[in-house]
């Protein structure tokens, strides 16, 4: 990669003397070194299916000493304001909090759709089947009864294998 530096006195002098312009070369070796190191670091941190293990924006996961890894599964998020099923808000957390029933209808509807979608995908793929797995990301301040209602509703829809997402200490 080369460029020319015109209008310098030295260049003008040389031009006058009949010599050719000096090519100024950009030294890219160090930049490529930086990029290579950065690329390797980022490849190491890359997670396929990142939505599973990436905390939902606005959710503070509780710290835990657990180091177990996830298996791929749909994610249900309980933020301070919303219950989000597969990326779409199902209802407000305050609605769950105020409900006197364990089964929350909007969450049930969203999870039923999610199950149907998972089963349709499973029909198309031989090595994939619906296993009833669900990952729950909940904010650390959420009262237990909200979580209890969400988990109960999930189980009634067929998501029996629930895993909690926590922040590694």
């Amino acid at each position: 990669m080369s460029g020319y530096l015109p209008h310098t006195m030295a260049m003008n002098r040389r031009r006058r003397a009949g010599e050719e312009a000096i090519a100024a070369r950009l030294q890219l070796t160090s930049l490529i070194d930086i990029f290579t190191v950065l690329l390797l670091f980022l490849l190491k941190s890359l997670v396929v299916g990142g939505a599973v293990v990436t905390p939902f924006p606005g959710v503070t996961l509780p710290p835990s000493s657990s180091t177990a890894s996830f298996k791929e599964a749909p994610v249900l998020v309980v933020t301070r304001t919303d219950v989000v099923v597969d990326g779409v808000s199902a209802c407000a957390t305050s609605d769950v909090e105020g409900s006197d029933r364990l089964k929350i209808a909007p969450v049930e509807v969203a999870l039923t759709e999610l199950r149907a979608h998972s089963e349709r995908l499973a029909e198309k793929s031989a090595n994939r089947k619906f296993e009833g797995k669900l990952i729950v990301q909940a904010d650390e301040t959420i009262p237990f009864h909200v979580l209890q209602k969400i988990m109960y509703t999930s189980q009634t829809v067929g998501f029996y294998d629930i895993t909690l997402a926590v922040l590694q200490k």
Partner: protein, 168 residues
């Protein structure tokens, strides 16, 4: 970046020999495209999984010889379900009291683990308003003591978390 052989070093330069230069532009373009993509998808917050059991779904506590129960309320924590032993419910209203109570519970869990090596799982009975963070804290203590996953139950709930159900 140029590759110049020693034979040409002494010759008078007549211009750039373009054919001998490594063209790094495609590599740079690739890096410039890859780095933001990877930065976007990289996860810098270590998130891990915490398994839980539910009554009626075959949790480890179901088949355990010890019906170890940890009762967690907004103000107290204590063990229960151990034959011939009664544990007091310890105060946890302040952070200091909570920390001290957890230290005691951890010690008691370790003792029980030694006394009942075949015991697996613990039933965690949680009051409705206990923050999720505290539930995870207790689940950690149970797991670290060697009892494995906790079975979650809601205290004073209108119905259990899950009745005996079939398989998905």
């Amino acid at each position: 970046m140029s590759l110049r052989t020693s034979g040409r070093r002494g010759k008078k330069r007549r211009g750039l020999i373009e054919g001998e230069e490594l063209n790094l532009l495609p590599l740079m373009s690739l890096f410039v495209a890859l780095v933001p993509t990877l930065l976007y998808s990289a996860v810098f917050v270590p998130v891990s999984a915490l398994g839980i059991d539910f009554p009626g779904t075959g949790g480890s506590a179901t088949a355990s010889p010890l019906a170890l129960t940890v009762r967690l309320t907004e103000t107290t924590i204590g063990l229960d379900g151990v034959p011939d032993r009664a544990y007091p419910q310890r105060d946890r209203t302040t952070p200091e009291a909570w920390s001290a109570a957890m230290d005691t519970v951890r010690a008691e869990l370790s003792e029980l683990r030694a006394a009942y090596p075949a015991a697996q799982g613990a039933i965690l009975v949680v009051s409705p308003l206990v923050p999720y963070r505290d539930v995870v804290h207790v689940m950690d203590a149970v797991r670290e003591a060697g009892f494995g996953n906790s079975t979650l139950l809601g205290a004073a709930a209108p119905a259990p978390v899950m009745g005996a159900g079939g398989t998905p």
